[in-house]
Structure formats: structure tokens, C-alpha cells
Symmetry: C2
Subunit: 507 residues, 2 copies
């Protein structure tokens, strides 16, 4: 053992004894923390949770350490006790999935071996794993004969950033640096499209109207015509469509958008961070028809792919399209090393040191296969539809008109409709916050068009749990209806959490 206590390393030669012992501690702490929490999230609201957690962990950097066992147990237990755990049936606010046990276990090996994906001599086998994973995923959406490829990213946000960066560089190259790239995206697009344009020094994206939550191809046509009229002849346009909006799970009409973009000589990027995994299912893949026309696709397996964050992907139809990311750094990929056969990994990311997120994805793909993954996707979609039906059947609730988007259900208490518009929305927001404070449910929120075209606030349930069935959510609907009943005004915001629940989960 080491001369320094607690500094045993995770891997190396021999059996990983220290890691075995400490993983057992972490697992016990997870179990104990979940039991202490006793629900989807800790009760008490932000102030109470913050105070309790801080109290358990201060000082985080003492002069003398408390030792590996205690630091690990205490910190993991406090984090689990204070988690909004997507493994709980009532934790459905966000595109925040419960990771599969098999993916989390594979991720432990990534942490222990710590291959870094920026050079072959840090990741000889992990580089092969990534190559196989990216090729397989890119082939889900692009024809194999065109040499499709993909990058592993930290998520949809980085994928969109790289997509816009690559488009910016193509625009520069095509116009000898004289042209600017203009981005056009739906009002329904993820905020990361705007953020990417800001980071890259591009003009702010133009918004295309999205009646009913989906991009209107006729409005896109008009916008592209306006753009051509008002900008330089050397300028280029990139249309960003969404396949699975964050708020509603809706898919833009990809074939019509692709055609419109093509007619104007614009490129198309599809943000399928949410909807991409529909491609695993023969039954559901049809919903993404047209995606193959995109010059790049954002895809994300830490949403409907049951991976721990991060598991982002950016796919392109031809590996050549990634060339702008090439980079030479002698310590990582010197010319003579590359010529002598050492693979060059550096141009596959904006990052340098990089965790092998492909490992957990590889294990999951092989464990479940395309059909197995497709069945879980279908399960989530079916659960959402059934939850939608349950809302429709509930006398005190109503669903946002229109179809359920992928696995997202928007609904609100009818009590909110009896109030003036603003107060109705306040009731909806208040119920969400009350259930959070009570530690009973993590519901999301979204503003979306009602049948009369008015934008209203809705509660949002995003179904991503492989085992949750609609019946598990009956209790959730009941909670919402009760809270609306009890508190017909925005006063609900200030209701204290029930004392009994607080006591049972206090340390």
C-alpha cells in the first residue's frame, strides 16, 4: 500500500482491490441516501435542502482529510438524499433519463481506466470502441455507402455548437472568407442554437414561426427569400430544424423543410437530441423521414438512450465534413508518428482530454441490440400516450390539444382555466413548485399554444423510464388535481411542506 493514505489508484496491474472496496461503500451510500430521501426528490425546498447538504459536507476542503471511506460515504449519501432521482417514477420534468445499470457500470470502467480520447497512446482500445460506436450511430440516419461518421460530444448543446461551427467554416471556405453564415431556426428551437451563434460570433439566428409547435415550411420559404434579398450575395444560410422539441416533443416537418432549404441553396441541420433514438424502432423511425437530407444531425443518448450524462453525438453523412476540426499538436499527433501508423484522434472533438463516453454507449448497444433499444423507445412513447389518455379521462385535468409529442405530455388543471389568464398560469407554476417543495414529484413546465392560439403555461411530464407504466402516474395526476382543488389561486406557492414528510426524511 501507499505511503500516502487514501491515494490508492483505481486501475493499474493486479486486481482493483481498493476500487472494489470503495465501490461497495458508494453503493451503500446510494441505498441509504435514497431511503432517507423516500421519494422523487428531497422535501423542504431549496433552502432546506441546501442547508442540510451544506451542513453535511462543510468544509469541503479541510486542512486535514477525513479519509477515503468517510468522505465517500458522507458525500455520496448526502447527494443521493438530496437528489431529484430520475429512477423514481414521479421524476418526469426534463429530458433527464434514469441511466441503465449496465451503462453506469460500464462508466465505472471508464473512470477507472481513464483513457483520454485525444491520442492513440492514451486510448488504444477505447479509440476502436469509439470508432465502432460512431460508425454504427451515423449509419442509423445516413446511407452506409456515403461514409457517414459521427463525433461524441458532451450533449446536444455541444453538438449544435460544432454543427454551426462546421457550417461557418464551409461558408467561409466557399466564399473565400467574404460570406457570413446566417442561421434560421424555429421559435421552438433549443436555446443552444442561439448560444452557439453567440459563441461563434455569428449574427443572431432568425426565428421561423411555429404554429402548433412545429416549424412552418411556408414561413421558412419566406424567411429564406427575405434573407437573400437583404444580405450579401456571398452569404450562406443554415436552417436548423428540430426533431423532438424540448417543450413538447414535436417533430418539425423534415421532408418539406429539407426541400425548402434545398430550393434556396441553404443547408439543413437537424437537432434530434430528443427524437433521434426513434431510429432504433422500425415502427417509429418513419417519424424522422427526411433526416437523411441534413448536413449534420444532433443525436443524444443521455435522453432517450438511458445513458448517464454525457452521451452526445453529432452525425454527418460523410467523414470529410469533419475535416475543419483537424488539428496538429506535436505532443499528441506528430506527423512522423501519424505516418508511422499511430492513429490521429485529435480532430474528433473541440475538447482535448476527453472521457471515453463511447464505452458505456457501446456496452448498451451490444447489450440491448437495435431491437431491444427500439422496444424501450416504444415503451416510453406508449406510456406517454396512455398518460395522455388518462389526462383526457380525468375530470379535473386537460391535455394540451393535439397529439402527444414523442414521450412528452402537457396538461393543466381545469381550475386554471377558470381564472384570468395570468392567474391561471400562476396556479400551474405554483402547483409545480409546491410538489417540488413537498418532495412528491418533479414535473416540468412549458408554454405552448392552446386550441384558441393563446400561449398558456402547462405542466409537462417527459416519460423516459424503461419500467414506468401509465398506472404508476395515476397518483401523480391525483396529486396535481388535489393541489389545484385545495388552492384555486397562486397562493399555493407559499404553502409550507407538510410537517410529517419533512420529519420522516430529516436526518
Amino acid at each position: 500500500m501507499s505511503q500516502y493514505p487514501d491515494t490508492a489508484v483505481a486501475a493499474g496491474p493486479g486486481d482493483p482491490r481498493a476500487l472494489r472496496a470503495l465501490t461497495a461503500v458508494a453503493l451503500d451510500a446510494l441505498a441509504d441516501g435514497a431511503a432517507a430521501r423516500g421519494g422523487a426528490l428531497p422535501a423542504g425546498g431549496p433552502e432546506a435542502v441546501t442547508a442540510r447538504t451544506r451542513n453535511l459536507l462543510t468544509p469541503i476542503l479541510p486542512a486535514q482529510g477525513v479519509g477515503a471511506h468517510d468522505a465517500l460515504y458522507d458525500t455520496v449519501r448526502a447527494t443521493a438524499q438530496g437528489a431529484a432521482d430520475p429512477g423514481e417514477a414521479h421524476c418526469v420534468a426534463h429530458l433527464h433519463c434514469p441511466p441503465l445499470a449496465v451503462a453506469a457500470a460500464a462508466d465505472l470502467a471508464a473512470s477507472a481506466l481513464n483513457p483520454s480520447m485525444d491520442s492513440w497512446d492514451q486510448a488504444p482500445a477505447a479509440a476502436v470502441v469509439e470508432e465502432e460506436v460512431t460508425a454504427a450511430l451515423a449509419t442509423l440516419m445516413y446511407p452506409a455507402e456515403k461514409r457517414p461518421d459521427a463525433l461524441i460530444t458532451s450533449g446536444g448543446t455541444e453538438s449544435n455548437l460544432v454543427a454551426l461551427l462546421l457550417a461557418r467554416e464551409r461558408a467561409r471556405a466557399a466564399t473565400d472568407g467574404r460570406g457570413t453564415l446566417h442561421v434560421l431556426c424555429g421559435e421552438n428551437a433549443h436555446h443552444s442554437v442561439h448560444r452557439a451563434a453567440w459563441i461563434l460570433g455569428l449574427p443572431a439566428p432568425r426565428h421561423i414561426p411555429c404554429p402548433g409547435g412545429r416549424m412552418d415550411p411556408a414561413a421558412l420559404d419566406t424567411a429564406l427569400r427575405d434573407l437573400a434579398d437583404t444580405t450579401g450575395r456571398a452569404d450562406r444560410a443554415l436552417v436548423v430544424a428540430t426533431a423532438g422539441t424540448t417543450d413538447e416533443g414535436l417533430i418539425d416537418p423534415l421532408p418539406a423543410i429539407a426541400l425548402t432549404a434545398q430550393r434556396h441553396g441553404a443547408e439543413l441541420h437537424v437537432d434530434a437530441a430528443y427524437g433521434g433514438p426513434l431510429l432504433f424502432s422500425d415502427e417509429l423511425a418513419e417519424a424522422l423521414r427526411g433526416i437523411e437530407h441534413a448536413v449534420s444531425v444532433t443525436f443524444d443518448l443521455h435522453k432517450m438512450g438511458w445513458q448517464p450524462v454525457a452521451a452526445g453525438v453529432l452525425a454527418v453523412p460523410d467523414a470529410e465534413l469533419l475535416h475543419a476540426l483537424s488539428l496538429r499538436a506535436d505532443y499528441l499527433n506528430a506527423d512522423d508518428d501519424t505516418e508511422a501508423g499511430l492513429p490521429d484522434l485529435l480532430g474528433r472533438s473541440l475538447r482535448t482530454s476527453r472521457r471515453p463516453d463511447a464505452l458505456k454507449i457501446a456496452v448498451t448497444l451490444r447489450a440491448l441490440g437495435r431491437e431491444g433499444l427500439g422496444r424501450v423507445v416504444e415503451h416510453c412513447v406508449r406510456t406517454a400516450r396512455r398518460l395522455g389518455d388518462a389526462v383526457d379521462a380525468h375530470p379535473a385535468l386537460r391535455r394540451r390539444p393535439g397529439p402527444v409529442g414523442i414521450s412528452t405530455v402537457l396538461f393543466r388543471p381545469v381550475a386554471a382555466d377558470r381564472l384570468p389568464a395570468e392567474e391561471g398560469d400562476e396556479l400551474v407554476a405554483g402547483i409545480r413548485r409546491q410538489l417540488l417543495t413537498e418532495g412528491l414529484a418533479v414535473l416540468g413546465r412549458a408554454t405552448a399554444e392552446d386550441h384558441d392560439g393563446t400561449r398558456r403555461l402547462w405542466l409537462k411530464a417527459t416519460l423516459l423510464h424503461p419500467q414506468t407504466v401509465a398506472a404508476d402516474l395515476d397518483a401523480l395526476l391525483k396529486l396535481v388535481a388535489e393541489r389545484a382543488e385545495l388552492s384555486p389561486t397562486a397562493d399555493v406557492v407559499t404553502l409550507p411542506a407538510p410537517q410529517a414528510r419533512l420529519e420522516s426524511s430529516a436526518l
Copy 2:
């Protein structure tokens, strides 16, 4: 259990039984893979390793899955067998550390609970952990009374990107958008500084000469004067200094650089991705004097902090300096939620979904304390100095003249000096590749000035293992000397790997 085989989730209510069972499988696969590898990296070179790994894992996405157990065991075993494992004493090429077992075990909890750091209702307690960690780390380099703060990033590359982005926005704000930001960095700066300027649409950074590997303050003074003469009056300058260069572990003269920058009204960013952890040691912190003048500091705990990737940090002296990253997205931080007390986490990253990398850092800080971490840093520095002494004492090797930088030793066989310059460098590069192919050692490479001012290629050993002592590396020096002796020309590149070793590690 689930109706879908292999889809048990990692956390949720109750004991994480599936995760317990599968972590045991992953740990066995790690042990078996390391035993099959039998050294610092797999023997055979890229082609053989790629073929073997691919053979074990194809197809990565079968139509029907092979099940969780087999997919996990096979993939992790193949990745471990084909790893360049920094837990092995002879794996010393890069700033690629062996993670502590306690950090890897904590990271398992991050994977299982999967809190996402972009909203409070996905990470109630993890947000507190991050807050405590970032405050503690920022206070290592900035006075507590100024309200220092830090962001968790994916590594030094992202930290440098955000640092330049924040500087760009300050330049814009100060000049009503009329001024451009000009970046000046040493020739010794990490490539990510250039990449960041490219991504952000800034002019390419200007290079300051670095005689002996460190930035020359007089040359910086001249460059800043030239810049003022040749650019617009509204333009602004950011100087990027390095505290721990990738090639040599050298620290730029921070006090003189800070003074020079200040005299010209330029801001200073310090990239201390490597050297930052010297601040844990009372004995070594002095080497970073002057860092407190920086407007931002890149700091990284997946190098000399023994964390699995990613564990990047960007520290600032005042939380106000991060304001440009603020962002509003109704589904994550609606105004009324923020007003009602839900903490807003969204402006703390360029990413949206974000793994709680602060958790493993928190556990490590608490486990070892500042003194414990300082002792391990001192151990690595001392080991490098002793290795330097061993090179000095070796008749067939010589060290790059000058002091050992942090924990990095540059050396080459004297046989290389007897050859014409280019052939000498080829011998050095060839020895490195031969040891990689033989599976015996992962040494790095760096071009650096010799005593006569000529830039030559050196072998590089970066000492980051908490348990490795200089005597463990005697065998490594012997290997290098033998290879140089056996193969006095660049022919070594093509030597086949010894058959015996290949057979013993084949499946």
C-alpha cells in the same frame, strides 16, 4: 423486474441491486483485462490492437442484444486489455493521471444518480456540492473577500475557451462593440488557446518568444507596444500565460508578466491546467506567485488532481465576471421560479445537460484535505527530480539542460547526439514508437531547446502516479538505453514486436 431484459435502472427507490451485480462484473473484467495486457499498454502496435479489439466487439450494434452481462464483461475486458493504463508505472507520456480509487468510486454515484447541473430540480444537492467545490478551489488562488468563484469545465481546453469568450465580451462591452480582442500568448502555450480564438472568431493569437521554454516579459512588452501601434484604439488585449507547460512543465514568470500586462492596460489569463495544484502545497505554492493578478485561471484536476476526466475548472476573482454567461430558458429557470427561490444554475456553463463532475472532486478534497493533496503533489515533483538525477547519472542518457519542470523530465539517448540532427530526432521518435509497439512503456515526446539553442526532440516522462518512485523507473531508463544501443538509426521504427510478448498477451 422489468418486462424488458437488461433495462434495470441504476438508481431509484430501494437498494441498487442491479448496479451492485453489474459493477462486480465490470470490476472482474477490469482485473482480467489488465492481467491479459500485462504491462503499460497492449503489445503489437495500432494495427494488431485495433484488429483484436474490433474482433472482440463487432458488431457493436447487433439486431438482437447479447445481454447486459456479456456485453459489459466483453467490452470492459477488451478496453482494459487494450488500455494505456496510467495506473502502470511505465505509462508516463502525458498529463494523463491514474485516477484515485476514491474518485472513481464517487464517479460511479454520479453515473447512477445522473443529476444534471442545468437546473435545481435535476440536481438539488449536487448543486450545493458544486457550489462548495468551486468556492474552495477559487479561494486557493484568489483572496476570499473579493467573492472568488469558479466554473466546472470539461478540461483546460474548455476553460481556456470560456476565458477568451469572457474577455471578448468584456472587450465588446467596454467599447460598445467597436473593439476587437487580441490574444497574446507564449510560443509555449497550449494549442487550445489558438483553437479558442478560432472558435470565437477572434484574430489568431500573437506569439511571444519563449527562450528556454518560458515567456519573455521584455518580448511581451514589445509585442503589446506593437499591438497598440497597429490596431484600433478601441481594441483590447488579453495576455495568456502558462503555469506548467505541456511539453516541459515550466512556469512563465507570472509577476513580471502581470506587471507588463497591467502597464499596457491588458488583461491576464493564466493557464494553470497543469501547475494549479501546486497551490495545495505550502512548500510549492510560491512557484505560482502572481497568479492572483489574473482575471481568470484555468485549473484542472484530471491532471495533477488524480481525477477521472473530466475535472476542469475556470476560476475568477469575482463572481460578477461570469455574468456574461447568464441565460434564460423558461423550461430550466423561468423568472417566476427564480423569484420563488429555485436556484438558477444555467449560467454556470456553456453546456446545458452536465454531469456532476464536482462530486468526485468533492469526495477527493474531503478525503485527502489540502495537506494530503499537497503531499501527493510534492511526491510527484520529488519523483521527477529524482528521475532527473538518475538520467544525469546514466552514461547512455542525458537530460534537457535546465531545471526539471514541475513533474516533467525531458531526456534523450546520447547515441542520438552522435547522429546528424534530423536522424538523431528520428532515433528518439523511433525509440518511443518501438516501446509503444512492444507494449513496454508509454513515453511522451517534446521538442525543446538544447544548451546550444537548437530545438531537438526529447523523450518525455510526466510523473503523476501517487505511488511510483524513481526506482520504479530505472527499468524504463534501461529500456531506452538498450533500444538506443541496439538500433543506432531510425530503423528501430520498423522492428517487429517480440513474438513472446505478443503470444503471452493474445487472447
